[in-house]
């Protein structure tokens, strides 16, 4: 018999709380790990903060003021304590609060990554579906080769190629930067597209979006290839399932068969993969951002690491970690929505 949940809402709440708790533990673990890594990188943080010409006394004074003369565990506890107040510390090179610094760049990266994810999903799902339906046929081979080749192109080279072809030659997209020179949008959220819309300036939003398309495509390609291969394999497996024959024998036409029977049963692993890719894209955005003259969390982190800016690195990594945790959370929810068997297992519904 059906075990109807006594209280589905309560069970959902318990599930979400459990997930939130494990996410929190993940973040604490992540920050401890990153903290250790920064301490292990050779070089003297106090020296960097004080500047090249500082005397030994000045360096020691700065070391004391930043708390770097304390034992490492004490430093870590102090860091976590500040973290709980939302204080990620002050950058030792720019002397700006890390929270503020990240706030300025993160939304732009998120914009870029979300667009890339959107491109990946909207292009790959139909491509993989057509491929799987025509398995080992001409279309399948064409797509396969196309995907492998495009994924094999080095990012910087592909970026240059697109800039030249679609930007300079065809004049379809701007080559570099975040917004055209004549556009001005007041910063509110940090996301250019969102800010433009908030400012009631759809032209600027469109302009901002155009600037994002090439970088997003470049960012999307290798991830799209990954998703294509996984989804195609999964689709082929699902296509061989008995319940699809049953559905066909029921008279379900091809289109509905794919949309209602094949895809929902195939996208489980893909949802998980896209969730992982979301985090990886934030990291991979560094290169793309530098080629296309964009700022973002990637460039922020690269600078921080090269300058041994402890708090900036920690802050950056933690924020990316938090993004990954959030995307995993979203993935879990989506899987629950998709699969009633998971709901039964996780929520006892």
């Amino acid at each position: 018999m059906t075990t109807v949940a006594n209280n589905p809402k309560q069970q959902t709440a318990v599930f979400l709380l459990r997930k939130a708790a494990s996410s929190f533990i993940t973040l604490v673990g992540l920050s401890a790990f990153v903290f250790m890594m920064v301490k292990l990188i050779p070089g003297d943080e106090a020296r960097v903060a004080a500047g090249e010409n500082a005397s030994v006394e000045q360096v020691e004074a700065i070391r004391h003021s930043l708390g770097f003369d304390q034992p490492v565990p004490v430093q870590f506890v102090a860091f976590i304590g500040r973290l709980l107040h939302g204080d990620l510390g002050t950058s030792i090179t720019t002397h700006v609060s890390v929270t503020q610094g990240i706030q300025q760049v993160l939304p732009q990266t998120i914009e870029l990554v979300l667009l890339a994810v959107l491109i990946v999903v909207t292009v790959v799902v139909p491509l993989a579906t057509v491929s799987a339906l025509h398995r080992d046929g001409k279309i399948d081979y064409t797509f396969k080769i196309l995907v492998i080749v495009s994924a094999g192109l080095p990012t910087f080279w592909l970026a240059l190629l697109l800039q030249y072809g679609l930007g300079t030659k065809a004049q379809l997209f701007p080559i570099s930067g975040r917004l055209s020179r004549n556009m001005h949008v007041p910063t509110r959220t940090g996301s250019v597209v969102l800010d433009s819309l908030l400012a009631g300036n759809p032209l600027a939003a469109w302009d901002g979006l155009q600037h994002l398309i090439l970088p997003a495509v470049v960012l999307a390609l290798p991830f799209g290839a990954q998703l294509y291969r996984m989804l195609r394999a999964e689709l082929i497996q699902v296509l061989a399932r008995e319940h699809l024959t049953v559905a066909r024998a029921k008279g379900v036409p091809q289109r509905q068969l794919v949309m209602q029977h094949v895809l929902p049963n195939s996208i489980g692993p893909s949802i998980t993969l896209v969730g992982i890719q979301f985090g990886a894209m934030v990291g991979a955005a560094v290169l793309v951002e530098s080629v296309f003259g964009l700022v973002g969390i990637g460039s922020y982190l690269t600078n921080a690491v090269s300058q041994k800016d402890t708090f900036a690195v920690l802050g950056g990594v933690l924020v990316i970690g938090a993004l990954v945790v959030v995307s995993n959370f979203v993935v879990d929810i989506l899987q629950l929505v998709r699969d009633p068997r998971l709901r039964a297992g996780q929520l006892g519904a």
Partner: protein
Amino acid sequence: MKTMTNTPAQKDAERRPDPGTLLSVRDLTIEAGSKELSVRLVDHFSLDMAPGDRVALVGESGSGKSVTARAIMRLDPDFRLSGTVDFEGQDLLKLNEKQMVAVRGHKIGMVFQDPMGALNPLMTIGEQVMEPLRISGVSRAESERRAKSVLEELGVANAESRMKAYPHEFSGGMRQRVVLAMALISDPSLIIADEPTTALDVRVQEQVLTLMDKVSKERGLAVLLITHDLGTVAGFTDRVAVMYSGRKVDEASVDALFSNPAHPYTQGLLQAVPRIDQTVPRLLTIPGAPPHPLNRPTGCAFSPRCPFAFDLCLVESPELRPSPEGGVVACHLYGASGKDEGS
């Protein structure tokens, strides 16, 4: 020939060229593989069914019985089919995919072997049972009403609330009822049941068979039952066709087949069935295994395993001839000489 205006209401009123025939399969040949390496899975298979007829298609695994059933529904696009499959006056092999979709599930329902894998795990039972109706444009409320009624007819208790449940909440026997409901909901005139009870335990087998028996009688449904289980055949069907290595080798009424089997292969199959009413020292089996379709012996495909095989059997493949019991049989024992050593 092609009458494509078959709405359910017209189904009974509309007359076919031969009103006595519902399904007429003629020389159905099924080939798979590439053009260079073609495998003939089924060879010139013919079968006639009148409305309400119940016919069993019996044979070992690999004999081509399931492939034949699936070919009637044109479920394997990779197979090359030839011959004719006349159903209600139209040749199914000549229909395009779109026209075929209108036949599948609407005029011919199909029930499958493995009820555990036969349902989409992500859709509710109700959605799946209603699907054939929804496709043909029946309103949601009407579909729900009919789904509920067909599930109740098949003995699913609390049908209305069970329709909201998912397949993993159903047992094997219950799932098979759902599969049956999906096949019946559009009120077809023929049900093809491909080993519908094989994957179920014995008690549930009995329930499902009784149910199929009752429902098909009440609705006047023709049933083509694919099975390797002669026990199932005895209680359920009127006529039996036996397949061996892609060919129909024997066909007779159930009574004739059980009391006086014509083909040596049929005799072997019957001797291999355990009987409650007879004590035998040891259950007989047919020695050997069916040949691979790529590697059939010349002459009669059964000859290497046949206790009565003689020289002609090794050279010439026997044609189907009338058998002494009123059916047809493909065996040289029933040649022009009229020899009958079989029984």
